[in-house]
Symmetry: C2
Subunit: 205 residues, 2 copies
DNA sequence: CACATATACGGAACGCTGTTCCGTTTTTCA
DNA sequence: TGAAAAACGGAACAGCGTTCCGTATATGTG
């Protein structure tokens, strides 16, 4: 689903050559290695370390990602996509209320994991300016669909904006670093209970 | 007032020699140069650049500030002190209501200027862990005294915690980067109007 | 006043970054 | 099968924070 930088197929024109197989393979390996490195050592993980993990030279890294920030952005987008794509999957596997609360926890984990990136985000580097809009564009519709389904099922109040909920969880997740991982979960549950408060028991009536 | 790293006088013991005059002079020059450099180029300003601005060798910088973060911290504390010390000065020069609103704007400017540092603060580097507590220790009493005086004069509701107000302004100042400097000022004024809402017109009656 | 020494200074040098460059290798397509 | 296009690898460069140590200087004393 998401337009991750990982998939490049010749939908551009008919004439030019196909993307070389080794190039695609290295790109995938790089994204995997970078994701692992960022999870382990944070976003400050050296490019050389990532290249080595991927079994690739430094030059190859910079061929695919001209700047270090491009690699960070690519990994970020990939994980945003994974989080967004979890919404329809959960909606198909559970009832609307359960799908909503499961996705909220999934989102909370994502936010907690990306804590280190938040610092880079607010560093003023213009390279990261594209991230917030991508974040919104992918995650707002994902949550909104769950929210609407839950409202239609009558387990949640209608008319609540996904944007506000996303922002609230992101803000509430910040102190959960110092206060333990329990705190964030409690706050999310509290928010969901708040949504349930004004809900009517049956949709059609 | 504040225990800035800039003043070192032999209150420790009686025996050892006095602090050398050139050492003190260089320390002052370094703090001034660092403050200017951070204001111009942000907290990422190179140590060498600061040393040059101060007319000093790199070795001298590291003699006074073993780590780059120590220099940042020293400047930060100095500016926190300046902001805190503005409270009694404003209280002496204006009536309680005016003193309070003037200090809030002073504090807003401080927060807006230290935006770049905020990123470093949340980077997880343990060197900066001491800063928030210093921030609280100096600024909370400063604001609380203004708040109490204004409440006693009846221009502001009583019983509002300085901590909450400080945090609120800090959070509200963040979007004011993108929304223009007007935004932060409007939000601060709004907060102050909120404080005025429940106030009684005269203190003794 | 001159001297001895604790103290501070300066900047070359080290190791680590991100990034560039280009000779070499590999893949693709005719 | 063979040329040309594409991608690879890693040495090399510039800039960073930090360390180290020979040199200069301020301080208290004989």
């Amino acid at each position: 689903m998401g337009d991750t930088a990982g998939e490049i197929r010749p939908e551009d024109d008919g004439k030019p050559r196909r993307v070389r197989a080794d190039a695609q393979r290295n790109l995938d390996a790089l994204l995997r290695a970078a994701m692992a490195a960022f999870a382990t050592s944070g976003v400050d993980a050296p490019v050389r370390e990532i290249a080595e993990k991927a079994g690739v030279g430094i030059g190859t890294v910079y061929r695919h990602f001209p700047q270090r920030s491009d690699l960070i952005i690519a990994v970020f987008r990939q994980e945003v996509d994974a989080c967004a794509d979890a919404a329809p999957a959960l909606a198909a596997a559970h009832d609307p209320g359960e799908a909503l609360s499961r996705w909220m926890r999934r989102y909370l984990d994502f936010i907690a994991a990306k804590r280190g990136l938040a610092a880079a985000l607010h560093s003023g580097d213009p390279a990261y300016e594209v991230l917030p809009s991508y974040f919104q564009r992918r995650l707002v519709p994902a949550l909104q669909s769950l929210l609407d389904a839950a409202a239609a099922a009558g387990v949640v109040r209608a008319g609540f904006a996904a944007t506000d909920l996303l922002r609230a969880v992101a803000v509430l997740a910040a102190p959960s670093q110092e206060l333990g991982p329990e705190h964030g979960r409690r706050m999310v549950d509290l928010l969901l209970d708040g949504l349930r408060y004004g809900a009517g028991p049956s949709p059609g009536a």
